[in-house]
């Protein structure tokens, strides 16, 4: 946005540039304020281009929990059986870990549940009591990593 305005204002005086800079700072500040009040979502992402969904293998947090950077959220199981005809199920497991501090506010899934791509799995906010009436403004920042099968997973233990 700054570049866009800078190009359009390239012939203006230094006064105009100062006005623009002030406007930009105000805009940035308002965005930070809005950021403090936002609801975030976790929608099931496309981890593998061949996947059509994933199973919630583990849930590591409960609504109301204050979560830190590095907190584990979910383990997911991605089964490519529908895309590849194999008798040995091509299942991979992934861990979803937070990259920003938030409060988990709402879980829309249960352990063992299959989710579709893009499905809203959970809602977060950066204040514990923030209203959930507003729609998520963006996806939560997270890391996805392949993990080894373990005893806590739904697949192979409950299934």
């Amino acid at each position: 946005m700054f570049v866009h305005y800078a190009i359009n204002l390239r012939d203006d005086s230094s006064l105009s540039i100062a006005r623009f800079a002030a406007a930009y700072l105000l805009l940035d500040l308002s965005m930070e304020i809005r950021d403090l009040e936002m609801i975030y979502g976790f929608r099931l992402p496309t981890i593998n281009p061949h996947m059509s969904g994933a199973r919630i293998e583990c849930i590591y947090a409960e609504p109301g929990n204050a979560l830190k950077i590095g907190s584990k959220l979910f383990d997911l199981g991605v089964d490519l059986s529908s895309a590849f005809a194999q008798e040995c199920p091509p299942i991979s497991f992934f861990r979803v870990v937070l990259r920003e501090p938030v409060f988990l506010r709402k879980l829309n899934v249960a352990r063992g549940q299959l989710c579709e791509l893009g499905e809203l799995v959970a809602l977060f906010s950066n204040e514990a009591d923030e209203s959930l009436s507003a729609a998520p403004v963006r996806d939560i920042r997270l890391t996805v990593a392949g993990i080894i099968h373990h005893d806590g997973l739904w697949t192979g233990n409950v299934a």
Partner: protein, 455 residues
Amino acid sequence: MDGERSLIELPLRLGPLCADGYNISRSGIRWLIQPGQYCRANQIFAYCNISLEPTGIRMSGPPPFAEEMELQVAFAARAAGRILGGAGAERGGYLSIRSVDVWDAGAVIAYIEAEAEPDVDLERLRLLMLAGRRMTGLADVHTGLLPGWHGRTRGWWCDEGEMPVSLLSLGICDATGVVIGEQCAFVEMFEAATAPTQMVFVPDHPLAPATPVLLDQLERKPAQFQAIAADMHRFLSDSTLAPTADDWMVSGALLSVLQRSPIQDSYSLLTPSGTVRTEPADAVLLSLSSEPQSILRHKSLGYHVQILRHHQAAAGPVFRAWLGSAFETVKRSIDDIHSDYLRLLDAMQAATGARALVINRMSTSGYEDISSYSLFDAPMSGTLSSIAAKELNLMLHDIAEHRDLVIIDVDAIAADLGGAEHLPDGIHQSGPIQAALRVEILHALEDLRPKMQLK
């Protein structure tokens, strides 16, 4: 025309195949192609079933192939061309299943329209011999190459005076597809290797070939097997639940494989020169992916079982209860896996002298977006599959410095071809990766060949 080679049509003959003390009978020919279809050189295009009929001369010892109820021969031309069926080669009905004709080396089963090639005996078919040991005699399926349910299959090929080098495949999916191919009958390996070779395949069910399982099989005495069988029988009989058919089927299959040690199997071969009895396999193919981080060990008898999760689903409730109560879960660190590998390689070396070929693990994933490893607890190899794979791959390199072990580097091949497209779940490979792995495996067998020639 100048610069162009003319096409010739030649008959394709069975060629010699002998079994000492037996006549070979064959069924009618069954086609795997359409009439007039163009075939690559060494592409299997037809097959027949065979059986051995005693000639009346008494041979000492058990008859060859006594355990292998599936015996077939598949055919390929030595040059590329269009294949046309010979009149009357296919008999139809049960005559294409049962052995009704004597094997006649001069019999013409098809014709080929091909370019003449100097130094190639185009009229003589290349033969892929196939043998299957059924998991149960009930598994008689009458169609296709190596049909039915087998505890061991093998395919071999050689001309007169040649002795095949043997590879035994004891891996899971990452080895299976490479060795047996898409038709589960070694045809891709046969096409890739014209040098005399035998491929032996043991499936990963009901027991997956983790090193503790293979070590147990190598070291188990008959009395120990009897104790295992008695314990299993006792649990099934004393159970408050009545065992289901699935319980008995899986128990029987498990007993069947527990009493064998595939690494020590020797083999009978039909060849153009007669029957040959070979030593155990010259090389054993393992897959690093079959090493679990925990394994079941029997609480009182001490033996290990590793049954893949999707195979456990075949069992009934009593068998699963037996696994849950009679066994304990033993965690395995990378050091433990390293130690088990050394013990297995030393035991193999002492028992048969076989070389180990090990398919390593794909150790990178395009599906991760790890920006900081500080988010994960140490040791990361206990959680993250890519870190565990890298450490296991490094472990193989450590072992290879001191033992006769060849690493089949799927990690490098997949990275080169593209993991997302060719190895989407990290274990089940595409055709191009399998073809590249076949080349690596055959290369690793090359220096085992010169020692052996038929007398």
